[in-house]
Structures are given as C-alpha cells and as structure tokens.
C-alpha cells in the first residue's frame, strides 16, 4: 500500500489517501509545545498524546478498512512505520510491539531535529506526538479504544540519548 498526497487546487486542500492534511513547520510545532509547557495547571503533554492517539487511531483504522482488510498485525505495524515516515516524522521501529504493549525505537525524529534547530538541547523528551501515534496505531490494529495504551518516552535523542525509546503497556481498562 502506498501513501500519497494529492493537492486539490479548486478547494486548496491537500489530502493523504483521502484524509485532509496540513503542513506545519517546526516553528509552529515546537513553538506550540514550548508555550503550552509553560502554561500552569494544564497537562500539556497528556493533551498532545491524547489528541494524537485519537486522530491516528481513527485515520489508520480507515486506511486499514479501505485498503488492507486482511493483513496481519505485524504487516499493519510495518505500514504504520511507513505512514510515520511519509508524514515526515522520521524513522521508527514498531516491530517489538504487540497487543500487550512492548517497546519501540526511533533513530530519526522530526521533533528532535526541529527542537534542536530552534531551541537546542533540553533535559526531558520532546516526542509527545510520537507517543500518541504509537498509542493510536496500536488501538487501531488491536481494535481497542484510543486510550487503551499508555506510552512513555524513556530516552530521547534531544537529551543526548542514542535513540528515542518508547515503553508501551496496555491499560487494564482497555478493552
């Protein structure tokens, strides 16, 4: 299955396999994260993870249903890694994930490159959208609700780590 973008000049809309998308640069993505992290009393990281999980879950489910109804979980995770790369987020290995969770790693991250270009190193991880991506993809593949998986970035390139590493577990309330 190939992911391709298409521009509709009549309506000025870009779609990725039929789903409307927008292009955002690192000034927007990293600037937004920096602002909301400084705002007191809101859980900025959780909001990023939760909304990303919902969106990736819904859209990946539709890609699945439309084009790959019979593929295995491993095939679906490989497809998800391709989607992640096509969207410009970097290179991610999802092969160690299963229905109960597991680990994932990324040796090339859009969010790290963007943050380093704009602000330099930071002491804590920056790939919160990636956490949401992993949670949403797993929920889509294993037919669970978008909040069924808890994803934590345990190491991040932005802090000087060797790769971005993610630990995933399925929440008990997840169906």
């Amino acid at each position: 299955m190939a992911f391709t973008t298409k521009f509709d000049p009549a309506h000025n809309i870009i779609t990725l396999n039929g789903v409307p998308v927008s292009l955002h640069c690192h000034h927007y993505n990293c600037g937004l994260l920096r602002v909301i992290e400084k705002f007191p009393h809101i859980d900025a990281h959780n909001i990023l993870i939760r909304t990303a999980a919902e969106e990736f879950c819904q859209n990946f489910k539709s890609y699945f249903a439309d084009q790959q109804p019979d593929c295995t979980a491993a095939d679906a995770l490989r497809l998800a890694a391709v989607l992640y790369r096509v969207m410009g987020f970097g290179r991610i290995d999802l092969s160690q994930l299963g229905e109960a969770g597991g680990t994932a790693s990324s040796d090339s991250s859009y969010f790290v490159v963007g943050w380093l270009a704009k602000y330099g190193r930071r002491p804590d991880p920056v790939c919160y959208v990636t956490c949401g991506f992993i949670a949403g993809i797993l929920a889509a593949v294993f037919q669970a609700p978008p909040d069924a998986y808890e994803v934590q970035e345990t190491d991040c390139l932005v802090t000087g780590g060797e790769c971005c590493a993610f630990s995933v577990r399925r929440r008990h309330h997840g169906r």
Partner: protein, 49 residues
C-alpha cells in the same frame, strides 16, 4: 565560501527562518487547539489566573 556564510549555517537568516515541515492530519490540528483552549479556559476559571 565557508560554511559559516552559507544558507545552511546556523548563523544565516535563511536557516533561522526556514521551516522543517511535516504533514499532520487536519483534524488533529483542530482537535489539539480546541482541547487546549478548553483546558486553558478551565484552568483560568479554577485558579483565577
């Protein structure tokens, strides 16, 4: 030309202004901003910020 003078140097205006672009689902952008506004509004009300 040395790297320090080139468009790709961290010192250049081009480097600082140019964007590293990714594709995002349109609905995610909308959902994120709405969720943030709702949470910020709630925090302002709760904590009298």
């Amino acid at each position: 030309m040395e790297l320090g003078d080139s468009a790709f140097s961290e010192q250049s205006v081009f480097f600082r202004l140019s964007g590293i672009v990714s594709i995002q689902f349109f609905r995610l952008t909308f959902l994120l901003l709405v969720t943030l506004l709702v949470d910020i509004r709630a925090a302002i009300k709760t904590f009298q910020l």
